[in-house]
Amino acid sequence: MNRHQSAAMVRLLLRYRPDADVLLGVVEVTDTASGGPDAVNDRRLSDTPDADTRLTWNLAASGQFANTPVLHSFEVIHALSRWQADGLDVLPRAVADICHRFTNEHREGALSDTPMISALHSRVASEAQLPITELLNTNEPRTSARPGLQQDALHVARSLEQLSGAIETAFSTRRLTDHEAETGSNEHNRVVAFCALARELASTLADHEALPAPGTSAATRQALRGGLPISDRERTALLTALTDIDQPDRWALVAAALDHLAADKNCHLAANAITEVRWPRLSSSTRHPGYR
C-alpha cells in the first residue's frame, strides 16, 4: 500500500474569477485521526513567493507530518496565464493539476452584456478530494524578495509606464479604417488590453517589495503575442524584456531595454510620441488614459 492510499483525504475548495483570472483555494481537513493536521496545535506559515501568489501552510507540532508544511490555502493571480508560463509550479503538483483543469474549464466566464455585470457575476466554485500527502511542501523555502533591488523595481515600473504611454499614443495617431471605426477595432482592444496589463505589471512591481510578478508578466506576454501594431524587431525586444522581468537581478537591464525601446528614434513606437505622450504617474493620477 503506498503512502497516498493510507493517508487521510482532504477537500480542496476552489473559487475562480474567470474575468480577472484570480484563483483562490482552501483545504479542509476533517479527519485528524489518520495523520491529518490537528487544528488546535498547528502553526500557520504565510508564504509569498512572488507578488502574484500567497500561500499558507500548516505546520503540525506532532503526528505523521510533524514539522512538514502542509498546504492550507492559496491565492494565485493570473492563474491560467501562470500555468502556461511555468505550470503553476508554486503549488504542489497534484493541486496545480486540479487547478489547471478547473480554470481551463471555466476560462471563458459567463456571457454578459457589460464588463461590470460580468465581473460581479462571473465566479465559479469547485471542490476536489485528494490525499493529504499531495499537499506536502517538499521544496526549500523560496525567498524572492531582494530588498536591495527596490530601486531597480521602481525603475522598471517607470519604464513600463512610459512605454505603455508611447504605445497608446502611437496607436491613437493612426487613422482607423471605416470598417474599424464602425465595428470597433480589434487592434484597439488589443492595445488597450496590453497597455492595461503593462501598467498593472508596473504597479505590482513598484508596490510589492521588489518581488517579481510572474503571473502578470505571463499575461502581458500573451497580450503582446496577441498582436500589437509594432514591428517584429520591437516585438522581439519587448518579449525578451518581459521574460527577463521575472528575474529581479536582471531588472536594471530590463529597465534599460524598455527605455531604449521607447526612446529609439528608429522605433516606430516612439513616432511623434516623445513630445506628445502624457507620462502617467506611479502614484494616484487623476487621469488614466489607458482606460478610456
Binding site: 475548495l13 473559487r15 474569477r17 474575468d19 480577472a20 483570472d21 484570480v22 483562490l24 483555494g25 482552501v26 504565510s46 507578488a51 500567497r54 490555502s73 492559496f74 491565492e75 493571480i77 493570473h78 457589460t114 464588463p115 461590470m116 465581473a119 460581479l120 465566479r123 470597433g184 484597439h188 482592444n189 488597450v192 488590453a193 492595461a196 496589463l197 501598467r199 498593472e200 504597479s203 505590482t204 508596490d207 510589492h208 502578470t216 494616484s284 493620477s285 487623476t286 487621469r287 488614466h288 489607458g290 482606460y291 478610456r292
Partner: protein, 231 residues
Amino acid sequence: MDTNPTHHSQKETPANTTSNLPLPTPAGEKAYIKHLTRAATRIASKRGRQPFDVDDIVQGVLLRFAADVPRFMRDYTPERFAREATSQVAITFDRKHRVARYQGVRLVHVSEDGSEGYCPKARAFASGSEPILEGDGELLDLARSLGAVVDETVVQSEHDRAMLRACLQQLTPRQREFLMLVDGYGFTVTEVAARADLVRETVSRELSRARKLALQAAGNLPDDDEGVSTS
C-alpha cells in the same frame, strides 16, 4: 449638496452618484475592472485573511465601483480605488463577522423574548473568548473573576449585571465608553479612534487602563454568596 467627488462622510468612497461623463469604451472598462479585481485581491490578501474572505471583500469593492463606473475610472487609478475601497469594505466585513460569530463580549442586556438588539438571550453577557488585542486581557476573564460561571450559554442575571455595573462604575465616562465599544460592541480600536478623533495609541492606552481598573474592581468585590448591591 456636496458635489466634491472625493469628499464624503466617514471616508466612504463615493457611491450612488450620477455621472454625465462620457462612457468608457467596453475594452477600457473591461481592462480597468480586471485590473481593479486583481489589485483588490492583492491588497485584501496582504492583510492575512482567509482566501474566501478576500473574495467576498473583492466583491464588495466591485459593488462600490459599479455605483459610478465612468467617474471612478476618470478619478482613480485601479490601485488607488482598490486601496481605499478595500480598506472600507474590510472594516464593514469584519464587524459583520464579529457580530455573526458572537465573538468578543456582549454587554447588551437582552429582554426575555430576545427582542433587543441582535444578540439572542443565551449570549447576553459574555460569549467567545477571542482576545481583543494581543497580550490584553479579555472581558470574559473579567466575567469569570466576578465569580460567575461562564459557559457557552451564559444567561443574564440581575446578580451578574449588578456586579458588572459595579466594576464599570470605577471608570471614567471615556474609559467606560471605550470599553463598551471595543469589548462590548466589537468595534476595533482603530474604529473607536476614528470616531473619537483621537490617535489609536491614546484609545489603546485608555482601554488598557479601563480593563485594569475593571479587573481590580472585580477583585475587590464580595464573593457570589454574599450578594452585591444593585444600586
